[in-house]
């Protein structure tokens, strides 16, 4: 039920029958590109709106409520405003690097979306090293951040960029090791196979306590990787104005802002796919009636529902925890998360060896 493969195949075969291979390929690329742009824009704008609304509710405020019903068009209005704002050039800044930094940050966040399975058949490329690909591409984003801070020729920016660099590379280890746990369980790095291995139960339930520990570590490290929440030292408002993007104005600033939210979505999507069963519906043991009802909900809704849950958790962290200091931040990673993670991976390997997961 709800398989997207025939739908995609029918478009491709229709194009190939009526057009030469070159034009068919070009048109399918354009269609995909338009799809990506629409998805990116809608999701980015919606996430910004959701963050502002949730933050307002946690601080006992109303949040945006003037533009459109409940303020849902507020972020679109903001985007138009940012498009029409002046792009300020900084004296003595390295203008080539200054302009290329938002591009790198956006490329990293868009290309990572390519490997995420939204539903059966609704995945741009099903790489056999999908998990490694997402890790590799999303860690390119930190280069953009470092370039942005360095090229701005502003002291706040450089401090923010250096902090961000130290933080992102440290927490990348924990992200990788937490993902390795599930790769060990599933025995594959391909997203479709990882999802197929969860048909009789999600890994967070099947993998006993070690899988849950890995999930919690992944959430903490993922929040740190996106420079968010209690780990937003790179753009700490109260000490560095806006950190690495202090000097950016108008639409270039908007790109950094957008990329942060998309990175959050990517972390949530990876957590969903590896631990929470991806687009698979929730099944309760062998209760046939309940499972049939759950099967009727389309997989896209399941995927986005689970991703929204993880994103909500990350927003919750941000608005309830105080910011860490840089030494506390690095001590948390190197003295707590990393040793726990190594022990946890040995436990997971032991569980896999004894076949003790359900």
């Amino acid at each position: 039920m709800y398989d997207f493969t025939p739908f995609i195949e029918s478009i491709t075969s229709y194009l190939n029958e009526n057009l030469s291979p070159f034009w068919a390929g070009l048109i399918s690329m354009v269609l995909l590109g338009v799809g990506i742009l629409l998805f990116y824009a809608v999701l980015g704008l919606y996430l910004v709106y959701a963050e502002r609304k949730i933050c307002a509710r946690m601080q006992n405020r109303m949040g945006p409520n003037r533009v459109g019903p409940g303020g849902i068009f507020q972020t679109i209005a903001d985007l138009i405003k940012l498009l029409l704002k002046e792009l300020i050039y900084i004296r003595n800044a390295d203008s080539l690097l200054f302009n290329i930094a938002p591009f790198i940050v956006i490329v990293a966040s868009i290309m990572a979306i390519g490997a995420i399975p939204f539903a059966k058949g609704l995945q741009a490329v099903d790489l056999n090293i999908g998990v490694l690909y997402i890790l590799a591409i999303s860690s390119m984003g930190v280069i953009g951040i470092l370039i942005a801070g360095w090229a701005s020729n502003s002291k706040y920016s450089v401090i923010g960029a250096m902090r961000s660099g130290a933080q992102v590379i440290s927490y990348e280890l924990s992200v990788g090791l937490a993902l390795l746990g599930i790769i060990t369980f599933a025995g594959s790095m391909q997203f479709s196979e990882i999802i197929a291995s969860q048909e009789d139960g999600w890994w967070i339930f099947k993998g006993h306590i070690p899988a849950m520990i890995a999930f919690v570590i992944f959430l903490i490290a993922g929040t740190a990787e996106t420079n968010r929440g209690p780990f937003d030292l790179a753009e700490a408002e109260s000490e560095l104005t806006a950190g690495f993007h202090t000097e950016y104005s108008g639409i270039k600033f908007a790109f950094f802002f957008l990329a942060e939210y998309m990175n959050m979505f990517i972390i949530a999507a990876v957590a969903t796919t590896l631990w929470l069963g991806g687009w698979l519906p929730f099944h309760l043991f062998r209760w046939g009636a309940f499972n049939t009802v759950m099967d009727f909900i389309p997989p896209v809704f399941w995927f986005f529902g689970k991703a929204a849950f993880v994103i909500y958790l990350m927003m919750w962290f941000k608005w309830t925890f105080p910011r860490l200091r840089i030494d506390q931040l690095l001590a948390l990673e190197w003295k707590y998360l990393l040793p726990i993670n190594l022990m946890n991976l040995i436990l997971i390997a032991f569980l896999t060896l004894m076949k003790w997961h359900f």
């Binding site: 020729n153 502003s154 390795l180």
Partner: protein
């Protein structure tokens, strides 16, 4: 379509960034000024060069990260075949993690993980 899909993602990013910046370049006002182009430092004129030597702690963490990340890369192939190989793979990863753990312990005792 499959082989060009990732290329499409890259080109889409280029179109998005390039298009939006080009639009802003023509649509947005441009009134450059001497004071406006100063680096922002809460109103105080900036002192001295920005591109100077930096706190060594950051580089120390970068080096430790490099060691551990390269070793993490070795664990990926192991994780994929762990199920099939079984006990041998488990014993091997125990040895590997012992060495890795000793490395971490060494860095810890040498105070490389302490921010000063």
């Amino acid at each position: 379509m499959e082989p060009y899909a990732l290329l499409t993602f890259f080109l889409t990013a280029a179109v998005l960034v390039g298009g939006a910046i080009a639009f802003a370049y023509y649509a947005a006002p441009s009134l450059p000024g001497l004071v406006k182009s100063e680096p922002y430092e809460c109103g105080i004129p900036t002192e001295g060069p920005t591109w100077i030597q930096f706190h060594v702690g950051y580089y120390l963490y970068a080096i430790i990260y490099l060691i551990f990340d390269v070793e993490t890369v070795f664990i990926y192939p192991w994780a994929v075949v762990m199920r099939e190989i079984g006990l041998t793979a488990f014993i091997e990863i125990l040895i590997f993690f012992t060495i890795l753990g000793l490395g971490l312990l060494y860095a810890w005792k040498k105070n490389a993980l302490t921010w000063e």
